[in-house]
């Protein structure tokens, strides 16, 4: 006779095998993934485009803001720039823009700045609150003059995971959001290397992996299909993470 215990373990096993098999099916993954679009549209529907992420007081800040992902890009190019205190570093702004730019760190620090104390939410589940200062992305995009066809902003980074460069992308709703800044200072200090020096993205209504560090180039594109493997970001391409990381 089959005992209840065997039955229970057996049925859990069958469920798991079933789920694992379903998870390998591209069709089923597509069904699950369609919820991402639903979630994004639903959130956008009930959210004001310019709704601000919560800004905290200095007293609310994490005592230690954990650095994760790349903490020191391994490429010789980056290490040469870092050794020179990023004096030779330039941020390229190109793609579908009227006036491509090449900005030195000093120029970026001279631009209008915004300071915000916000909560950084990692996809893994932890949160840290820190203070960020930088130029609103909108200021940079307006200086370059976004062309009509541009729909997404792609952030190319200096760090690599194996052979693949890190990159991320956001749409224009987040690109023109007042809290979306290119940060060059953190917690009242010049941005340190573990946190993405000399410049990183802050896109406060999305999870941590969207906040690209070690920025080298900002590119305006009409669609994401032609960028690397087409999913809009390193983790999206390599591990099937959601492009929309608002949840």
């Amino acid at each position: 006779m089959i005992s209840r215990r065997t039955l229970l373990i057996g049925s859990t096993g069958a469920l798991l095998t079933g789920c694992d098999r379903l998870d390998r099916s591209e069709t089923f993954r597509g069904v699950l993934r369609s919820a991402e679009g639903l979630t994004m549209r639903a959130q956008r529907l009930i959210t004001d485009r310019n709704a601000l992420a919560r800004e905290y007081d200095a007293a609310d800040m994490s005592p230690i803001f954990r650095a994760n992902g790349t903490r020191m890009p391994a490429t010789p190019d980056y290490q040469r720039l870092a050794a020179g205190a990023f004096a030779d570093w330039r941020l390229a702004v190109d793609g579908l823009v009227a006036r491509p730019l090449s900005l030195a760190l000093g120029q970026i620090r001279q631009m209008p700045r915004r300071t915000q104390i916000t909560r950084h939410d990692c996809v893994e589940g932890w949160s840290a609150i820190g203070k960020w200062t930088g130029v609103p992305l909108q200021t940079v995009l307006d200086a370059a003059g976004l062309r009509q066809e541009a729909r997404y902003i792609v952030f190319h980074c200096a760090d690599r995971f194996g052979p693949h460069p890190y990159y991320e992308s956001i749409d224009l709703i987040d690109a023109f959001h007042p809290q979306t800044i290119l940060a060059w200072a953190m917690n009242d200090r010049i941005l340190q290397i573990p946190h993405g020096a000399p410049l990183r993205l802050r896109v406060e209504r999305q999870l941590g992996y969207k906040h690209a560090k070690y920025l080298m180039r900002i590119e305006a594109v009409a669609d994401l299909a032609s960028v690397y493997r087409g999913r809009g970001g390193y983790w999206e391409d390599s591990n099937d993470y959601e492009w929309y990381a608002g949840i």
Partner: protein, 272 residues
């Protein structure tokens, strides 16, 4: 035998039966994919922030070749189950929850989130639809305890009857007893809505849209802790529920949730 009540009655409405079986699947998937997400950072905090350097009130981890569960200052060894186990192929697995408890069984935060955030939709929409249904068809009234039922003496009597496995028979079995009312309405009106709201409170976009979401729970990390506590309240409910179904007569109980038809249990004296 003379009786005013028929032996076989229609017990569960179609809406209840559909919601029950949809949830039987959805809740299991949510629990197991949720454990996968938890495995990505098996520490829980109170407050707005919380990461590796901050104090965790709950942590599952490993040191050397031992797994442990830390709850406040209490440290429980969990080697072989939580935090550290040797897989069938000899590999050491240091993930908090074992593969048999997670979806998918191998570590993948992206896949866990894909399952979790997709099945969250039927969970939340199903709950709202069921609320509306039971308010309209007045089933909600069957789930609400009357004041007299909440009197301590009455509750104590029911607890004693339950502990002695003395279940109501005949027409009395048609009504929910107070413990049933409290646990069903606790799940429907407290645990499930809390799970949905604390889930939403972990979304950075939702927090920007509805700042009160994090405020009512005292911060995002508190919301994450409450989410986890509610999930385990759900597990406890399911276990007790399954035990009660088995004790009360599994075939009759399951049939009543599939077809709606339920055979009234006879009193002991009448049993042949």
């Amino acid at each position: 035998m003379e009786s005013d009540t028929p032996e076989v009655v229609t017990r569960h409405r179609l809406s209840t039966r559909i919601w029950h079986w949809v949830n039987a699947l959805v809740v299991i998937v949510m629990l197991m994919s949720g454990l996968m997400i938890f495995n990505a950072h098996p520490r829980l905090y109170w407050g707005q922030y919380g990461a590796n350097f901050d104090h965790a009130w709950l942590e599952i981890g490993s040191s050397g070749d031992a797994g442990y569960l830390k709850l406040g200052s209490l440290r429980v060894p969990t080697t072989g189950v939580l935090g550290h186990r040797i897989e069938a192929n000899g590999a050491v697995n240091r993930r908090a929850f074992p593969g048999w408890a997670t979806i998918p069984s191998g570590y993948s935060l992206a896949a866990g989130r894909r399952w979790h955030l997709a099945f969250a939709w039927p969970l939340a929409l199903g709950l709202i639809a069921y609320w509306i249904t039971i308010l309209v068809n007045r089933h909600a009234r069957d789930l609400t305890p009357r004041p007299a039922e909440l009197a301590p003496r009455h509750l104590w009597q029911e607890i004693k009857d339950h502990a002695r496995l003395r279940f109501p028979t005949g027409a009395a079995a048609l009504r929910y007893n107070t413990l049933q009312k409290l646990s069903y309405s606790g799940i429907i009106f407290l645990i499930l809505p809390l799970i949905v709201l604390t889930g939403l409170a972990m979304s950075p976009a939702m927090d920007a849209a509805w700042p009160w979401l994090t405020d009512i729970f005292g911060g995002r990390q508190s919301a994450r802790s409450i989410h986890f506590i509610c999930a385990f309240a759900m597990v406890a409910f399911i276990l007790v529920h399954l035990v009660m179904v088995i004790l009360a007569g599994p075939l009759n109980e399951i049939r009543s949730m599939v077809t709606g038809r339920y055979r009234l249990p006879k009193a002991k004296e009448e049993a042949p």
